[in-house]
């Protein structure tokens, strides 16, 4: 058998090399094509997953806001229709008692009656700040103004309000969310910041609305925010996202905190 065999010819070697080369090249190309396809699929999948998660978060937040609004409306109407009515009755009764008693006791009854009257006024203001209808009918600026006056009257903190540009309506839902962001910030400032001043700036431009809330409190570091969870501040970011805006929180220890909510008033956002 060995004697019959012939050495392989150059033409044959060329053919083998070409066929092998072509096969390997097509195989490598197929694998590379698969890797590219797979990468695209991964990116598409990731994007879809992120969109689903974002939608889910938005839906969850929307539901939370709806439940919160219902609860606040209920509390508001209870304060307005029940508690203040009872207190008004108490005030009237105190008034009638005051007319028929001796002078020494009369002063105390009148003083109590005035305290009750003040409480009724405060409760009515509180009821208004909680009520969706009130915010919707008064508008964002007027509601913030009323809230600012109420807080300033309490003496807890000095709140100033600045307006830049001609105001326009941002829509009931967006104004409500912005007002709740303002309330959340105010609450955080009163509870945690130890601030003396809170500055509110409302900027109205043609294609940009900006709500800035700055306090001169103790501030916090980004790490502290991460460690504590910062659900209130995260809520602000989520709420801003819900109305198509962005919230940025800028703070460092000893330098207060500034929260800025920016949104495009021309951009329609489903809520």
């Amino acid at each position: 058998m060995q004697n019959d065999s012939i050495p392989i010819q150059a033409d044959n070697i060329d053919a083998i090399v070409i066929i092998t080369g072509l096969l390997l090249a097509s195989l490598v190309c197929s694998i590379v094509y698969f890797v590219v396809l797979y990468r695209n699929k991964q990116l598409k999948n990731k994007k879809e997953q992120e969109e689903l998660e974002a939608n889910f978060r938005q839906e969850l937040l929307k539901t939370q806001l709806e439940v919160q609004e219902q609860t606040l409306n209920y509390i508001s109407s209870e304060i307005h229709d029940n508690i203040t009515q009872i207190l008004s009755f108490v005030k009237l009764t105190l008034g009638s008692i005051a007319s028929g008693i001796e002078e020494g006791k009369k002063a105390k009854v009148i003083e109590t009656r005035e305290l009750v009257a003040q409480t009724i006024t405060d409760l009515r203001d509180l009821s208004k700040s909680l009520s969706f209808e009130h915010i919707a009918s008064q508008g964002l600026i007027r509601t913030i103004q009323q809230e600012t006056e109420r807080i300033n009257k309490s003496g807890l903190i000095e709140v100033s309000l600045e307006q830049d540009g001609n105001s326009y309506s941002l829509g009931e839902q967006r104004e409500l969310v912005l007002f709740r962001i303002f309330q959340e910030t105010l609450n955080n400032t009163l509870k945690h910041a130890g601030a003396k001043h809170l500055k509110i700036i409302l900027q109205y431009q043609v294609d940009l609305f900006n709500l800035t809330l700055e306090d001169d409190g103790s501030g916090f570091s980004a790490e502290a925010l991460e460690n504590k969870g910062g659900s209130g501040l995260r809520n602000i970011e989520n709420r801003a996202a819900l109305i198509g805006g962005t919230a940025t929180i800028d703070s460092s220890p000893g330098k207060g905190c500034a929260i800025k909510v920016v949104l495009n008033p021309l951009k329609q956002q489903l809520f």
């Binding site: 058998m1 065999s5 070697i13 096969l23 390997l24 694998i31 396809l37 991964q42 999948n45």
Partner: protein
């Protein structure tokens, strides 16, 4: 010389598979077992040739064992119950074909089982393409170069497609009585690349990736 390189490489990969056995996922545990068996059968090649004058017996044994192991690996890797059922059927049909071939067409004592190998390679190509399709359907958020399934499947696709060319070259050279070492070198080169790709698959396999995939 090149045959020794293949044998050493088989040993190293079988060793890696044994060392990493506990960390491997189920399909790659099966692959690791097969790599050890494959190495032992390869190592006994010289002894079989010196005893029986050819290695036909060993090739038949390698062919049927290899197919069953790889079919089991693919069975575990596939999600579709239809494909799983298809694999079970192919295992049975291939066994029947293998027995007929070994007894009547290419007797196992003296003829190399090219018929069975051809059928085996066609099935591997089919499995590999279907697995790539499944990977595209259910992409995992892990870099593809870190996915053992990708390397394993690439190894199988490479081996099975180049094996066709190799067998065609063998036939051509056999029929024309051409004296050449080229086929032998080509065969061993395929073996080396296949072993390297299988080795990467064994090295990259991690249980977490499978968990992510299941999610």
């Amino acid at each position: 010389m090149i045959g020794d390189i293949v044998l050493v490489l088989s040993f190293v990969i079988a060793l890696i598979g044994t060392v990493r056995f506990r960390k491997l996922t189920m399909p790659f545990k099966v692959l690791a077992i097969w790599l050890v068996i494959d190495f032992l059968l390869d190592a006994s090649n010289s002894w079989v040739i010196s005893t029986y004058k050819n290695n036909a017996r060993l090739s038949h044994m390698l062919c049927i064992l290899e197919f069953n192991f790889y079919a089991v690996v693919y069975y575990i890797l596939f999600r579709s119950k239809y494909i799983k059922r298809f694999i079970v059927i192919t295992i049975f049909l291939f066994l029947v074909f293998f027995l007929i071939n070994a007894m009547y067409l290419q007797p196992f004592v003296r003829v190399f089982p090219t018929n069975a190998i051809m059928v085996e390679e066609i099935l591997y190509v089919l499995f590999a393409i279907l697995l790539f399709k499944q990977m595209l359907q259910y992409p995992v958020q892990v870099n593809i170069t870190k996915q053992s399934v990708f390397w394993f499947n690439t190894a199988i696709l490479f081996f099975s497609t180049t094996m066709f060319l190799n067998l065609a070259l063998m036939n051509y050279i056999g029929e024309h009585h051409i004296r050449s070492e080229i086929v032998l070198y080509f065969w061993h080169t395929i073996d080396i690349i296949f072993a390297l790709l299988s080795g990467i698959a064994i090295l990259t396999d991690k249980k977490e990736i499978i968990i992510k995939n299941a999610e």
